[in-house]
């Protein structure tokens, strides 16, 4: 009987300690989100954002809070900010690599997120990346990325029809496509050798 009580006490104490540490981790996550959102506005290039010190392993606190999607969203937005599509690529070191990583991050977010509004935002940003990459003298590449952008904006509107930014950007992209000398027709947004409406395509798909 004594041994059983002793074992029970030890187990209960251990469980109590774990729960306490878990509570501390949860608190840290909440503080980190609040503080690092502000830090991101001031210094977006910091690489240590949204990374609190966790005591309990396997990100138990994070999983308990269910903030994986919020974290993914913030990191995706940061990758877009780092890519800086509005800046001349020759003025920025490693611009192509950063933009490529942003393309991949945004497309991954669109594939995996369950939040339609955020998916729409990400698709809109993906389209903006496409527009940024279309600023080239190479006509073929220009056409390719404009088509990519138009598909992404349409995907954004499919995910969230109230996304006014995506509507504006889509209109702009279609105007730019119309100006291009192409056999596919302005704004048809078909990939090379493909058929089918771009509005039906998954955001971020196609060449």
């Amino acid at each position: 009987m004594t041994w059983r009580w002793l074992a029970g006490t030890v187990v209960a104490l251990a469980a109590g300690v774990v729960v306490l540490l878990l509570a501390l981790d949860v608190g840290r996550w909440q503080d980190t989100f609040r503080a690092d959102d502000v830090r991101f506005l001031a210094a977006p290039t910091r690489s240590d954002l949204w990374q609190p010190k966790e005591t309990v392993p396997f990100h138990a606190g994070r999983n308990l809070l269910g903030v994986n999607d919020d974290l993914f969203y913030r990191k995706t937005l940061r990758s877009f900010w780092l890519a800086r599509p509005e800046v001349n690529p020759f003025m920025q070191t490693n611009a192509d690599a950063l933009r490529s990583q942003a393309l991949v991050s945004l497309a991954q977010f669109i594939r995996e997120s369950n939040n339609a509004s955020r998916r729409g935002q990400a698709a809109n940003l993906l389209g903006v990346m496409g527009l940024g990459l279309a600023t080239t003298d190479n006509q073929q590449q220009r056409l390719r990325f404009l088509q990519y952008a138009s598909r992404a904006f349409r995907g954004a509107l499919t995910a969230d029809p109230s996304n006014e930014d995506a509507k504006f950007n889509l209109e702009l992209t279609l105007r730019l496509l119309k100006r291009l000398p192409t056999g596919t027709g302005g704004g048809s947004a078909h990939g090379f050798g493909r058929s089918g409406g771009a509005a039906l395509a998954t955001p971020g798909s196609g060449y």
């Binding site: 933009r99 490529s100 990583q101 393309l103 390719r144 971020g204 798909s205 060449y207």
Partner: protein, 289 residues
């Protein structure tokens, strides 16, 4: 006279000590039965898991194409490929030939060319092996490498996206939209091609096109970039060793330790030991007559 069923039961259980008060042991017997059934379920589960993992490992070892089936090999023949990488290319070709799969071949540098249509027998790759096989005796002169048909006018820059797009287009034309793609390259693509590669890989993911990369002596920065773009999983087995610093990386075709299988085998051993510990027959010493 013992019935047939009784005799069969005896044969299975073996001789036992007749007890008058078996009712008192009913609880323990039930507990043992539950433990035994639970352990049996665990063991069967581990066996199935081990079999699946083993088969997966075997597929990864024998077939380089992700997901198996008919796919496309996208081979980088640009000037940037170092002679040290030739042996890896030969290994890849040999393994594909040995797997007796059906495959297409795209060779690319700054443009892509379809050398074999999708669905060609892998043995058709055989004539290519001699072009990459390192010479037994190095040729004297400035260029000791074996000249290839594309050395002089098909080995300009590197546009990996052109190879990937050509491979996928060939698969779509052949009616195999989700066919696997294997890229064999040093990953040293032109800087302005990187976004196109990212875009193409996004397309592959959206269309569920499995792809894998065999990196040929890649530079560390290129390897890191492609791991970000394609995911570490795309480099599963083939790339094993990477040096530090730019230009000091190495890729090779080597096997990897099957840790998952080892872990499953260890768990199966633990389950068997637990079975022996909790459910083994009681050793009853023989009494002397």
């Amino acid at each position: 006279m013992a019935t047939l069923a009784e005799r069969a039961r005896r044969r299975v259980r073996g001789p036992a000590i007749p007890l008058a008060s078996t009712a008192r042991l009913a609880g323990a017997a039930r507990r043992t039965l539950i433990v035994r059934v639970a352990l049996a379920v665990v063991l069967v589960g581990l066996l199935v898991l081990a079999s699946t993992t083993g088969r997966g490992n075997a597929a990864a070892t024998h077939g380089l194409l992700p997901g198996g089936g008919s796919g496309m090999l996208v081979l980088d023949v640009s000037r940037s490929i170092k002679p040290e990488a030739d042996q890896t290319i030969v290994n890849v070709l040999e393994r594909l030939i040995r797997s007796q799969t059906r495959i297409g071949l795209i060779a690319f540098s700054d443009i892509a060319y379809e050398m074999l249509p999708p669905g060609s027998p892998a043995r058709e790759l055989r004539p290519l092996v001699r072009l990459f096989a390192p010479p037994a005796r190095p040729r004297p002169g400035l260029d000791p490498t074996t000249p290839t048909p594309w050395t002089s006018n098909f080995s300009g820059g590197t546009q990996i996206s052109s190879g990937l797009v050509a491979a996928h287009d060939a698969l779509v034309r052949a009616g195999n939209r989700h066919g696997p793609i294997l890229l064999v390259s040093d990953l040293d693509t032109a800087p302005d091609d990187v976004p196109r590669v990212a875009q193409t890989l996004n397309t592959f993911r959206n269309l569920n096109v499995p792809f894998r990369i065999v990196a040929l002596t890649p530079r560390a920065d290129n390897l890191a970039l492609f791991k970000n773009l394609a995911g570490k999983g795309a480099f599963d087995a083939p790339v094993t060793r990477v040096g530090h610093g730019v230009g000091a990386a190495e890729g090779a075709l080597q096997g990897s330790v099957p840790w998952t299988l080892i872990l499953i085998a260890g768990l199966a051993l633990v389950a068997l030991a637990a079975n022996e510990h909790w459910c083994g027959r009681l050793p009853v010493p023989r009494t002397q007559p």
